[in-house]
């Protein structure tokens, strides 16, 4: 529900302590499409925002298992099936000799899964976001803390949401517009 280009409302804090308490209130007010923006991860925010765990560890486990399996299969097929040759009297395929490469590929694919899985599930990379239109929001990566409630939230109401945000003890409440209106 985007009305007259309004994308959402933000409230700014100078102190992380206030932010955590404020987040708990937004959470209890029942909003869904909202977020907190901070220059560094703050402990206690998962609870305050009501965030649950992430599937990321399972994705990474999948990457690791794929790496391990692919490495063993590759070594066995290349050295014992497709191009077998005896060297130094060693068996064509022996598990001990396969351990280093299998280990490295397990780590490599797990790391790829962690890296790409994390950024993609965060919806990044992304070239633009309505929040980047706010001059004030630029300090979110330096020394200011923000709570943002999107206009698309079913509970969003310009006046009531504004009142809630103003009551949170932040320094200022600002409207964020979506310049790239659709």
């Amino acid at each position: 529900m985007i009305r007259d280009g309004l994308w959402g409302l933000l409230v700014e804090f100078e102190d992380p302590r206030r932010l955590v308490a404020a987040c708990a209130r937004v959470r209890d007010a029942g909003y869904r499409r909202w977020d907190a923006h901070t220059p560094f991860p703050i402990h206690g925010m998962d609870e305050a925002m009501g965030l649950r765990g992430t599937r990321l560890p399972w994705i990474i486990l999948g990457g690791g298992v794929t790496g391990l399996g692919a490495a063993l299969l590759m070594i066995w097929w290349m050295n014992a099936v497709d191009y077998p040759f005896v060297i130094a009297g060693k068996p064509l395929f022996g598990l001990p000799a396969a351990v280093p490469v299998a280990f490295e590929l397990t780590v490599l694919l797990s790391a790829f899964a962690a890296f790409f899985g994390m950024w993609l599930s965060n919806g990044l990379p992304r070239l633009h976001h309505p929040l980047f239109g706010s001059e004030r929001f630029r300090r979110a990566t330096s020394d200011r803390f923000f709570i943002v409630i999107e206009a698309a939230d079913p509970q969003f109401d310009r006046a009531r949401t504004r009142t809630l945000l103003e009551s949170l003890g932040g320094t200022v409440v600002e409207e964020v517009t979506d310049e790239a209106e659709d």
Partner: protein, 491 residues
Amino acid sequence: MNRATIAAEIDNTAYDPARPTELVLGGETFTSVTDKICGIVEKPRPPRAWYIAITVTGGLTAVLLAAVFHLITTGIGIWGVNSTVGWGWAIVNFVFWVGIGHAGTLISAILFLLRQKWRTSINRFAEAMTIFAVICAGLFPAIHVGRIWLAYWLFPLPNYQGMWPNFRSPLLWDVFAVGTYATVSVLFWYTGMVPDLAALRDRATTRWRQIVYGVFAIGWRGSHRHWHRFEKAYLILAGLATPLVLSVHSVVSFDFAVSNLPGWHTTIFPPYFVAGAVFSGFAMVGTLLVPARQWFGLKNFVTLHHLDNMNKIVLATGSMVGFAYATEFFIAWYSGNPNETFAFVNRAFGPYAWAYWIMVTCNVVSPQLFWFKRIRRSLPAMWIIYIFVNIGMWFERFVITVTSLSRDFLPSSWAYYRPTIFDVLTFAGSVGLFLTLVLLFVRYLPMVAMAEVKTVMPAASVHGGPAHPVGDYHGDIPHGAAPALGQEVRP
């Protein structure tokens, strides 16, 4: 902050278990951290010393390119290797640079898992140094193969001859170990840097900076929903990098240990190489960090407490290396194997005795000075010891590689190895490449992990009182820190 506090070193090395050590000094705030770290990168021009330095190191890099060009067009005969000593400086340099590359991941991964919060000030710098060292390391195996245009045979790529690489060879394990290490180090470094790149993007005043930092910041906006997954991924990457860093130098040591040559064929090699790698890596981090904190005004972040801790690690790993040298000798005697005994007596008293004793002096004797508090806290003293360790660790690899090869089982094939000018120029050039990359890094990228440093500042603690004992980016906060679901909150 007044001038007096800038000039004097603040001694925050005393340990009081009742109080957390202050990791950021000088009354810094979130704002001043961003201003100071970003400010280094945002200056319109770097100091004159930077231009002088990069001219010198850039010149050395040009020397490297010329030496490599000559090598490729002429052949490895331009080096000092002969039919007895087939592995010369190329392998020595490879192992030397890979070893240096271990400190970064140790600091960023192992110290992270061990909740050593002091790592936050130095991990970005150490990780960058790791990546540059691994780039230098990777160069040598690639060029030493002789016919460099066939270097792709190292990889399991389908080819017209229907051949595959031999996976039972430690040299191939090396390809995977170093390749994985380089890749994972870059991913880890870049992941940690994205929030800081976003800070640079948000402060950018020129179009050019906005675009470049904007692209590399990939749209990061500090969302806590993102931080939530970011911390999890960072923790798991640290968990993956920890066994990885131990595996890399173990695999490098297999290049030697899996052979049958006396002096190489020993089971102590993997742990001994790993300890040596950490030792040399910390020495190199210190070599670069001590001047960098001075020149770029980072004394409030890289405090004496940080350097003191690093020196303790140098002392510990240096002692491990010394213990390994002693164990090798003991086993050579105790095994009763005449070839093994000869290899070690030859190492210490043969034609390369000079190299051996340089190694022992630099690696075993010099770090023992760190038992003294005053030396651990003296900037000139520690810097000189770091230089000694750098030299000693290069000689360690030289001693291991060359002494065993130059006198093996067959006395008629014994030979003495001498490097040529091209060996020297190639190594000097690789130092130039390494330092050039370091200089570009300090000019264009945030050299202290701002987002992480902010997490260990008292102001970041949401509980009041002393800083929370749980470290940065762990995301394992116990319950009770925030109001529970349904609990009423009044500001």
